[in-house]
C-alpha cells in the first residue's frame, strides 16, 4: 500500500481533516492574534507584538535557560525511563510491579503540588531533606536553581518517556540481545551497541515528547525558577500576560510561535532519524517470545537500589502530599505537627458539592476523552508509520500543533475558537480541547509500537483474503495493545490532571478537579490542594488499573506480557 492506492490517500486525507480540525483552530487563532492589533484574536495587521517581544534584552538569557531546561529534563527523563523499562521488562529484577507503577504515579500528581512538595523537601532555608543532610554534615541542595528545575521536571516527565519506551521494550525480540552476548559482547556493551540503537525510534520519540512538554511547562519554572531567579520562556510569557490587567495574548502567542517552530523542527528531525524504520522491525511473527534475562548476583542489590531511588524520587513527594492533607497549615513534621493533625481538609473536600461535581466531570472527561483520543490516535499513528508520504508527514506535524503551544496560552486559543461555537461552556469543548492538545501522548507510544510491528504479519492477513479493516482488528490491534494501553493510560492520567485548557474553558457545571486544585493553590490552602491531589492520584490509579484489566481480558490469548 505504498502508493497507487486511492484508499490510502483518502484515509490520509480524512485523518488530516479530523486532526487538523482539532488542532489547527486554536493554533490559527493564536497565530492571527499575534499579528493583530488590540487584545482579541482578530484585529488590524501589526508586527509590533513580535518586535516588542523579541526586542527584549533578557531574551537571550531566557532562551539559553530554556534550552538547558528542556534538553536536560528530556535527557534525564528518557535516561531514567530507559533504565527502569529495561530492568522491568527484560530482567528478573524484584519488586517489578511496584517499579512499574512508580513512574506513572508522578504523572498523576498536579504539577504545582509536586513542585511545591519538592520545595518543601529541598528549599535551601529549611527543606526537610536539607535539614537531614545538614545534620549528616553533607551540606544542602538548593532546588531553586536550574539543575534543580531540570531534576524535578525530569521526574515529572518520566512517565511520558517511560510509557513510550515500555511500549517498544515490550515487543523487543530478545534474540537480538542474545546474539550480541554470544558474539562476545558484555551485557553493558550489548546495552550500548544493541538495545539503545534498536530502541532509537522510541528513545527519540520520548526525547521529542518530553522536550516539547518541558518547553511549555509552567509549574516547575514558576514554583522553583522564580525563587531561584531562573527565567525560562514560559515564565517570561507569564510575565507578559500577568503584569497588566488586560493581558495581551497576542504577544504571548508571538513567543509561542517560536516554541511551535522548534517543536516542528523536532518532529521533522525525529521523522528523518527514523526514516529507515524497517531497520527496527522486531515483532516478526517468528520466535516472538520476549523473555527475561537473569541479573544473577546483582538481582537483589539492584532491586533495592532502584526501589529506594523510586521511593525517594516519587513516593516521597506523594507522602509529603498526604502529610500536608492532614495538617492545618504547612509545617515541618514533628510533635507539634502530630498534635495538630486534622481531618478538616478532607471533610471540606468530600462534602463540597462543587468538588464532587468536579470529580464526576473529571472522571467522565478522562474516560471519554482518552477513549476517543486513543481511537483517533491509533488510526493516525498507523497512517503516520505505514504510509510515509508527504500527507502523512503533514498529519504528524498537525498532531503536535496544540501540544506545542505553551499551556498558558493554548487555553485562550481554544477559548477564542469555542466562543464562536455552540460548544462554548459545555463538557464537549473540554473534551475536544483535551484530545486536541494531548494527541501526541497517544500517538508517540503508538507510532513506536507500529514501527516495530513487522509488515509481514499484516501482509499475511491481506493475502489470506482479509479486508484492511479486518486485518486492523484481528492482527494489528491485538499486537499493538501494549502501545494502545500506554497511550490510553497517558491520556487518562493527563486528563484527570489537565489544567491549561480547563482553567480557561471550565464553567459552572463543567468544573473539573484540576481547576478546584488551582483555586485552592491561589488561596494558599495547601491542605485542600493536597487532599484533592490525593483524590486525583486515586482516580488515576483506579482508571489505569481498570484499563489494564480490560486490556488483559481482551488479550487473554496474547503473548506473555506483564
Amino acid at each position: 500500500m505504498r502508493s497507487g492506492n486511492w484508499r490510502t490517500s483518502v484515509s490520509v486525507g480524512v485523518l488530516i481533516l479530523i486532526v487538523g480540525g482539532l488542532t489547527l483552530g486554536p493554533a490559527l487563532m493564536l497565530l492571527v492574534g499575534s499579528f493583530s492589533q488590540g487584545l482579541g484574536a482578530v484585529g488590524a495587521f501589526t508586527l509590533d507584538k513580535y518586535a516588542r517581544v523579541y526586542g527584549d534584552p533578557r531574551l537571550t538569557q531566557v532562551l539559553s535557560n530554556t534550552a538547558i531546561f528542556a534538553l536536560g529534563s528530556a535527557i534525564l527523563a528518557t535516561g531514567l525511563a530507559l533504565t527502569l523499562a529495561y530492568l522491568n521488562f527484560r530482567t528478573d529484577i524484584p519488586f517489578r510491579s511496584i517499579l512499574h507503577m512508580l513512574p506513572i504515579v508522578s504523572m498523576m500528581i498536579p504539577h504545582l503540588a509536586f513542585a511545591a512538595s519538592w520545595a518543601l523537601l529541598l528549599n535551601p532555608n529549611n527543606g526537610m531533606l536539607n535539614l537531614l543532610l545538614r545534620q549528616l554534615g553533607l551540606g544542602s541542595i538548593n532546588v531553586y536553581s536550574l539543575p534543580g528545575m531540570v531534576f524535578i521536571e525530569g521526574l515529572l516527565d518520566l512517565p511520558v518517556a517511560y510509557l513510550v519506551i515500555v511500549a517498544a521494550m515490550a515487543s523487543f525480540d530478545v534474540s537480538l540481545e542474545e546474539a550480541s552476548w554470544v558474539s562476545g559482547r558484555s551485557r553493558s556493551a550489548t546495552w550500548w551497541r544493541i538495545v539503545l540503537p534498536m530502541l532509537r525510534p522510541a528513545i527519540l520519540a520520548a526525547i521529542t515528547l518530553v522536550m516539547i512538554r518541558s518547553l511549555s511547562a509552567f509549574a516547575v519554572p514558576s514554583v522553583l525558577g522564580l525563587p531561584g531567579r531562573v527565567e525560562v520562556l514560559t515564565t517570561f510569557i507569564y510575565r507578559l500576560i500577568s503584569v497588566g490587567f488586560v493581558p495581551d495574548y497576542g504577544r504571548a502567542a508571538a513567543v509561542g510561535i517560536s516554541v511551535l517552530g522548534v517543536a516542528i523542527v523536532l518532529v521533522y528531525l525525529y521523522r528523518y532519524l527514523t526514516a529507515r524504520s524497517e531497520q527496527f522491525v522486531t515483532i516478526s511473527g517468528k520466535g516472538y517470545r520476549p523473555t527475561v534475562t537473569s541479573l544473577g548476583r546483582w538481582r537483589w542489590p539492584l532491586g533495592f537500589v532502584v526501589l529506594l531511588l523510586g521511593i525517594v524520587l516519587i513516593a516521597l513527594p506523594v507522602l509529603v502530599l498526604a502529610y500536608t492533607s492532614f495538617i492545618p497549615y504547612i509545617m515541618v513534621p514533628g510533635a507539634e505537627a502530630f498534635r495538630q493533625l486534622t481531618l478538616r481538609h478532607w471533610e471540606h473536600v468530600l462534602s463540597d458539592p462543587l468538588s464532587l461535581r468536579a470529580l464526576r466531570n473529571s472522571v467522565l472527561l478522562a474516560l471519554g476523552g482518552a477513549t476517543a483520543g486513543i481511537v483517533l490516535s491509533t488510526f493516525a499513528s498507523y497512517v503516520i508509520v505505514r504510509v510515509r508520504t508527504r500527507g502523512s508527514a503533514v498529519l504528524e506535524t498537525l498532531t503536535f500543533l496544540s501540544y506545542s503551544f505553551p499551556g498558558l496560552i493554548i487555553g485562550v486559543g481554544f477559548m477564542w475558537l469555542f466562543a464562536r461555537t455552540d460548544l462554548y461552556g459545555t463538557l464537549w469543548s473540554l473534551l475536544i480541547g483535551y484530545v486536541a492538545t494531548y494527541l501526541p501522548y497517544a500517538i508517540r507510544p503508538l507510532t513506536s509500537t507500529f514501527i516495530q510491528l513487522s509488515k509481514d504479519l499484516e501482509d499475511a492477513s491481506a493475502v489470506s483474503g482479509a479486508s484492511w479493516l479486518r486485518t486492523f482488528r484481528r492482527v494489528v490491534l491485538p499486537l499493538t495493545l501494549p502501545g494502545i494501553l500506554s497511550g490510553w493510560t497517558l491520556m487518562v492520567v493527563m486528563f484527570v490532571r489537565e489544567l491549561d485548557v480547563s482553567t480557561v474553558l471550565a464553567r459552572p457545571g463543567t468544573e473539573v478537579l484540576s481547576v478546584q486544585v488551582f483555586r485552592a493553590v491561589s488561596d494558599a490552602l495547601w491542605g485542600r490542594v493536597a487532599a484533592l491531589g490525593i483524590i486525583m492520584i486515586a482516580i488515576s490509579t483506579t482508571l489505569v488499573l481498570l484499563g489494564n484489566l480490560v486490556a488483559a481480558r481482551f488479550n487473554r490469548l496474547g503473548p506473555a506480557r506483564r
Binding site: S222, Y238, R239, G244, P328, Y329, M331, M415
Partner: protein, 336 residues
C-alpha cells in the same frame, strides 16, 4: 433595551426615593427568581458561603466561575465579541473593570445598597461599585520572629537580618505588587523619593524569595522557610491556626480596589441586579470579612484580625497597563 430601561428606571427610582430602597424591591426578587440563576465571574476566591446564603435567602442559584486576572479580560471580551455572554455579574480589580467599561461590555447599575459605602467608592457613571481593598501588609511567623524583631516600619525590611528569609510576589511580573511598591512612593511613605529608592534597593539586596502571586506567599512563612513576607492579612483568617500575624507598621496599609459590575447583555439581568444588591449588603460583606478576611468598605464591617479596625487602609491609584509595564521593568532591573 429592556435592561437599559430597567437600569435607568432603577436609577431614577434610587434618586427619587433612596431611603425606600434599603431593601431590594419585591418586583426585582420575583423577576430574579423567575430567571432562576445568576452567573458570577469573579477574581475573588473562597466566597462560596455568600453564594449559599444568597441561594438560601432568595432561592436563586449563584454559579461561580473563578477567573484569574490573566483570563478575565480575554474571556469577557471574547464572549461579547461573539455574542455568547455567559457571565452576568463580574467582580475583579477596578482597573480591569474600568477597561471592560471602556470596552462597552458593562451595564450601568446603581445598587441601593451602595449607600453604605464611602463616596469615593462610587463610579460617577454608575457602572462599577468598589466594595473592598485587596490590602497588602507585612506578614510574619509569630513563632519564629521575636516580638522585638517585628518591623515597625516598611523600612525595617531592608535590615540585613532578613536576608534570604523574605517571601514576596515577583515585582517584575505581579501587577498588585508593582502597584503597591509604586504606591509607597506616590504616597510619600518614606518622606522622600530618595528614601523610597533606598527602601527598594535594600529590599532587593535582601534577596527575597520570589513567588508568582500572593497565593504562594503565606505557605513559606507558615512553614518557616521564610520568616516574613509581603503578603495579605486575610491569610491570618483563612489559614488559621497557622502562626501568622501582621506587622503593625507606623505607615498606612495600601491595597488595590475590588469592584463589582453587571455585564451588558447579561443572560439573567434581574438576578444579576439582585445578586449585586445582596453582595453589597451588610450581611454578605460580614461573611466576606469574617470568613475570607477581606477588607471591605461597608461601614462598620471589619475582618476578625486584631487591630485592623484601627489601621489606616488606603486604596492605591489605578495604574494603566503601560505604567505597570514600565514599573515592572524598572523594578525588575533592581530586583533581579
Amino acid at each position: 433595551m429592556l435592561r437599559r430601561l430597567l437600569a435607568v428606571g432603577v436609577l431614577v427610582a434610587l434618586l427619587a426615593a433612596a431611603p425606600v430602597w434599603a431593601q431590594s424591591s419585591e418586583g426585582l426578587v420575583s423577576r430574579a427568581q423567575a430567571e432562576g440563576q445568576v452567573e458570577f465571574y469573579a477574581n475573588i476566591t473562597a466566597i462560596e458561603p455568600i453564594l449559599e446564603a444568597f441561594k438560601a435567602k432568595y432561592g436563586v442559584d449563584a454559579l461561580y466561575t473563578r477567573m484569574s486576572t490573566t483570563n478575565f479580560a480575554p474571556t469577557v471580551l471574547t464572549e461579547h465579541q461573539t455574542g455568547r455572554v455567559r457571565g452576568s455579574v463580574l467582580q475583579g480589580p477596578v482597573p480591569l473593570l474600568k477597561i471592560l467599561k471602556d470596552a462597552g461590555v458593562l451595564e450601568p447599575y446603581r445598587s441601593p445598597a451602595a449607600a453604605a459605602y464611602p463616596e469615593w467608592s462610587q463610579d460617577p457613571d454608575g457602572y462599577i461599585q468598589v466594595f473592598g481593598i485587596e490590602y497588602v501588609a507585612i506578614i510574619y511567623n509569630k513563632n519564629l520572629v521575636a516580638p522585638e524583631d517585628v518591623p515597625t516600619s516598611h523600612m525595617d525590611l531592608t535590615d540585613p537580618k532578613w536576608r534570604g528569609r523574605i517571601v514576596m510576589p515577583d515585582p517584575s511580573g505581579h501587577a498588585t505588587t508593582v502597584q503597591w511598591l509604586v504606591g509607597l512612593k506616590e504616597h510619600n511613605v518614606f518622606g522622600s523619593e530618595e528614601a523610597w529608592w533606598s527602601f527598594v534597593r535594600g529590599l532587593a539586596a535582601n534577596q527575597p524569595i520570589f513567588v508568582a502571586s500572593f497565593g504562594p506567599t503565606p505557605g513559606p512563612i507558615a512553614s518557616g522557610e521564610a520568616l516574613i513576607g509581603i503578603s495579605m492579612p486575610k491569610y491570618i483568617v483563612t489559614l488559621a491556626p497557622a502562626p501568622l500575624d501582621w506587622a503593625r507598621v507606623k505607615e498606612p496599609m495600601f491595597g488595590t480596589t475590588r469592584g463589582i459590575a453587571i455585564a451588558a447583555g447579561a443572560p439573567h439581568p434581574h438576578a444579576a441586579a439582585l445578586f449585586v444588591d445582596y453582595w453589597l449588603s451588610r450581611e454578605a460583606q460580614e461573611i466576606l470579612a469574617s470568613e475570607v478576611g477581606e477588607y471591605v468598605l461597608h461601614e462598620g464591617v471589619y475582618p476578625p484580625i486584631d487591630g485592623i479596625d484601627q489601621a489606616q487602609v488606603l486604596p492605591l491609584r489605578d495604574m494603566t497597563d503601560e505604567e505597570l509595564e514600565y514599573w515592572a521593568q524598572e523594578l525588575g532591573r533592581i530586583f533581579r
